[in-house]
């Protein structure tokens, strides 16, 4: 019973979107009869720019943010886990505070940053603030994972004659793979969903990522919102994420809980 309720609560709104997206707009406003139709999707995919553009933009930003975040967070987390306890604890506390900080409060300063450095309307540049905002969580998560690797493994490698880079490449990083996958997925989720910064950094329609594009679709006509098309956009915009969740739920869940617990 409780399980059913939970299912209904979680899936109900999404199923309603799916249903709406497959109905002609007349049926949605209660005027016409309701057959099933793909018209909403056709409209969306053939729009200007086609909806697919937003998805591709989001994937590009997501991938570059993820790569940048990991490139910065992995060495930092390693160093933190090998630093003396007192220094590490102080730094970790700061990083944890940053992880909880509401990012929206930073939009104005980041906007000026984009203006001063001519980073506006550049998809890849967006990964700079995204990486910055994701770093705290990624660092916490990876630091916890590094701390779980016994020091003796690294010492054994040291005695074998491996340098720092070799130890990272051959011993530590392979053992970090699960934690790195978790953080990568969380960063990707974040950048896929991020709104205020994308909204202020991107103004050219063909460069929009999914989140601001959705808002723009909603705002495009103030009086009659094209709910059919909106629902279709919702479905298309969520589908990749739902797929990601279903495929990698284990990593995402472990990342989410690990990061929060150790933080």
């Amino acid at each position: 019973m409780a399980r059913l309720l939970l299912l209904l609560w979680s899936l109900g709104p999404m199923l309603w979107q799916l249903y709406s997206s497959l109905k002609p707009s007349e049926a949605l406003s209660g005027l016409g009869a309701g057959g099933w139709t793909l018209e909403n999707y056709r409209q969306l995919l053939q729009g200007d720019p086609p909806f697919l553009t937003y998805l591709i933009n989001s994937v590009v930003v997501g991938a570059s943010s993820t790569a940048l975040t990991l490139a910065l967070a992995v060495p930092c987390a390693y160093a933190l886990s090998r630093l003396g306890r007192r220094q590490a604890r102080a730094l970790t506390a700061l990083v944890a505070a940053a992880a909880a900080f509401p990012a929206v409060l930073l939009f104005l300063a980041l906007l000026e940053l984009a203006r001063d450095w001519h980073l506006a309307n550049q998809l890849l540049a967006l990964s700079l603030p995204y990486a910055g905002l994701c770093l705290p969580l990624a660092i916490l998560l990876l630091q916890a994972a590094f701390a779980d690797i016994p020091v003796e493994l690294e010492e054994a490698a040291l005695i074998e004659g491996m340098g720092l880079w070799q130890r990272l490449r051959w011993i530590l990083l392979p053992l970090m793979a699960p934690a790195m996958a978790s953080s990568a997925l969380l960063v990707f989720l974040f950048s896929w969903n991020e709104y205020p910064i994308a909204l202020t950094w991107l103004s050219r329609t063909e460069l929009l990522t999914l989140a601001p594009a959705m808002a723009r679709i909603a705002g495009s006509s103030v009086y009659t919102i094209p709910y059919g098309a909106c629902a279709a956009a919702t479905v298309l915009g969520s589908a990749p994420l739902i797929l990601l969740m279903l495929l990698f739920q284990r990593q995402i869940i472990s990342g989410l809980t690990q990061g929060a617990i150790k933080g």
Binding site: P13, C76, A100, M214
Partner: protein
């Protein structure tokens, strides 16, 4: 050895400083500057004037109240529901893994996407809720046009999206509680309620606190949801602090005042966290005194 470790941390720390610390310092400076259409978008020093303006700004205080109301309502709902869901998912049920994944889906969706979805669900008269009420021959509920209801709609949508996050965190906490504690409680004939009060909740406290802190900070900065679902309306009744600051910068082009508002929001966040910490410590001492 030491300096090599700091070298490894340097790039990440530099970016963190640039993204988190520099903006706050910049706001501090900008809040003492007039930078708006009136000044030709050039900064001009005006001292504490904007802070005075903030103090006398009815809209700021109204938005503060609305933001606090939204945060208090949605966070407490999320904690309650999240605990319930976590307890449910912690039962050895069939299909628990699938259920866990599905219940996490709302959290993974972009806020703007799902805000748009909720706008359609709350739609009067075509949304599913209105249709359902009409089918039952009940009067329609104007969720998005009645100020007294709209803020509740935003709370509902936020709760739907973030309860899974809280639930998941608490579930992780529940799984750290050793099973033999429950077995011992069962041997002593404890009721489920007693078990929850005496074992589960005390041991879950750190997780509850983390979830509470994290959610509270995020709720106080609520922006995406409000902007897309209600635009702050009707009549500004759901406008949040972040949205007001955003409007000042992007619509009124008053950057100086926007920075002041952002710092004001940050100050409120700090005050709340500080007060929470004091109350927490105080309650610990009070409990200690009772024992």
């Amino acid at each position: 050895m030491r300096w090599r470790l700091w070298l490894l941390m340097a790039p990440a720390l530099a970016l963190l400083l640039a993204i988190f610390a520099a903006p706050l310092l910049h706001y501090l400076w900008l809040s003492t500057q007039a930078q708006s259409v009136l000044t030709g978008l050039q900064p001009q020093p005006i001292g504490a004037q904007q802070w005075l303006r903030l103090w006398n700004d009815g809209r700021f205080w109204q938005d503060t109240w609305q933001t606090l109301r939204f945060s208090a309502a949605s966070v407490s709902l999320e904690m309650l529901l999240g605990l319930a869901v976590a307890l449910l998912l912690n039962q050895p049920l069939r299909g628990r893994g699938v259920l866990r994944t599905i219940s996490l889906l709302p959290w993974a969706l972009p806020t703007t996407v799902m805000a748009l979805g909720w706008r359609w669900i709350f739609n009067d008269p075509y949304g599913p809720i209105s249709r359902l009420l009409a089918g039952l021959e009940l009067p329609a509920i104007p969720f998005l046009s009645n100020p007294a209801l709209t803020w509740m709609a935003t709370v509902g949508a936020d709760t739907w999206k973030t309860t899974p996050f809280v639930a998941l965190l608490l579930l992780a906490g529940l799984q750290t509680i050793p099973a033999d504690l429950y077995e011992a409680a069962a041997l002593e004939g404890a009721t489920p309620w007693q078990t929850l009060r005496r074992i589960t909740l005390p041991l879950l406290t750190p997780y509850l606190l983390i979830a509470l802190l994290f959610r509270l900070a995020q709720a106080l900065g609520v922006f995406d949801l409000i902007q897309v679902l209600t635009g702050g309306g009707p009549a500004g009744s759901t406008e949040s602090l972040a949205l007001y600051a955003y409007l000042n910068a992007m619509r009124f082009l008053d950057f100086g005042y926007s920075a002041t508002l952002l710092l004001g929001s940050f100050a409120i966040l700090l005050i709340l966290c500080g007060a929470g910490a004091v109350i927490w410590r105080w309650s610990l001492r009070w409990q200690g005194g009772l024992r």
